[in-house]
Symmetry: C2
Subunit: 272 residues, 2 copies
């Protein structure tokens, strides 16, 4: 079975998309085709949207599911004229919160992923620049500023994890690669000694690592299963000996790796 | 007024956090303190969580709001014993979907931001590597693969936008800086001619640009208001002349810039 899903928002639509997708993953036997329509912030735009929903409805002979986070009552009401089944993620919860807070809500569009506070927002941009400047062992003179320093073998997922932590959470992440120099010494690199409390390790399955490295440098010693096994064995022993917390990235998404790390270390995300 | 908000999930908690934060931005006069507890996937863990909620409740003499996306009924039920006001973002919508799809849901934890399909997921990692390899004018031999090529003056927001597009949407973005070479010629750079359909421009307010550049190179010609004004004037004229679509990044977050771009160009996000 295939179903068309509309994601409609007066902002980015990212929240409606996230929750809508969450709910639909509970129906694994259905294939979903998403149509995301952000910035629907006028009745004129809704009129166009309704046409599109009704067209899909008559083509597919069903009622398309429409996930929305619409702040403006006027726009939400207008949408009800469509042939879609409207599931609004905002309206049901606002009254409960108003009651509990004994306060009226102030409907404002684009608050969720919008640029509300420039200073908070700037933290995220600074964090991205920091992550780029302290990627892969560079920028060691800036480690004082780091919220955490990720360690791991080549291709264990350090860079994407750092970029995600910076962009989404405004966290300042550095990462330090465990390379030949480390594997000849097998000790905590000198530069990291004073930052032991900031260290966090990434591990990965040896076969997955072999696969990823082979895509980059086929049949190299670097990519060989034996090299991967040896590096990972040494790395794990090193993390355990130095009491460096670590997680395995093999079956985890960037989101899972990042949220696990901040939960384990106990750092809070900055800014939204 | 200050209120403590719990975000509780058996997965990353990112969806509950996004929607919870959305709802609370409608109450701008209240200060919210967030406590995010991801991976609450056993009754033992819920027991600890309940203690924490009840402690906050007796300290603050109110009922903390608890936003959840809990898949397992057992865990959701257990949480009801707490002093918090539980607002679950999952339970209310599942029956509507089951009815419409005429199918039962298959409750599975960690589907939202989890690593469900390795191939889809790998696209996002490949996209991050692509963005890094084609940042700031490098990697021009790989422009064939680009989904889009961002153009803009130095510090207009190209790099964070590209990284966000890659990490969140699995889109392959390149970016090309408009620097002195361009400003002496004022024409479409040769290398970009064959990719005209992929070009997208970023603009920024001249005062904001002056401010951002001054933070990096105070009192330089590069950062001077005059330079910023001249560069932006030339850039805008160039975008208009070449019919390159563009948006202003000044009062937009990375999320807004990224979602606007893909909506305008008409690219779909890949993978979740």
């Amino acid at each position: 079975m295939k179903r068309t899903i509309f994601i409609i928002s007066d902002g980015t639509g990212l929240t409606a998309q996230a929750l809508g997708h969450s709910l639909l993953t509970q129906f694994p036997h259905i294939t979903f085709e998403y149509i995301t329509l952000p910035y629907i912030d006028s009745v004129e735009k809704v009129t166009q949207v309704i046409k599109q929903i009704n067209q899909v409805s008559s083509q597919e002979k069903n009622h398309p599911i429409v996930f929305t986070t619409l702040i403006q009552t006027e726009i939400r009401k207008a949408l009800e004229a469509s042939a879609g089944i409207i599931i609004d993620f905002f309206a049901p919860f606002i009254p409960m919160l108003e009651k509990e807070f004994q306060a009226s809500s102030s409907p404002k569009i684009g608050q969720t992923h919008g640029l509300i506070n420039y200073e908070t927002y700037k933290t995220r941009i600074d964090a991205v620049n920091y992550a780029l400047n302290c990627d892969d062992g560079i920028g060691q003179t800036h480690y004082d500023q780091a919220d955490l320093i990720l360690l791991g073998v080549s291709r264990s997922g350090k860079t994407p994890t750092c970029l995600y932590l910076a962009i989404e959470f405004g966290i300042f992440p550095a990462n330090y690669p465990l390379t030949e120099e480390f594997f000849s010494q097998k000790n905590l690199p000198k530069i990291l000694e004073q930052y032991q409390h900031k260290l966090f390790g990434l591990m990965i399955d040896e076969f997955r690592l072999h696969q990823i490295r082979s895509e980059r440098k086929k049949d190299s010693q670097y990519a060989s299963l034996l090299t991967c096994q040896q590096e990972l064995k040494t790395t794990r022993a090193f993390f355990n000996r130095e009491n460096i917390p670590y997680i395995d990235t093999t079956s985890r998404s960037i989101e899972e790796i990042a949220t696990s790390i901040i939960s384990i270390i106990g750092i809070k995300r900055r800014g939204f």
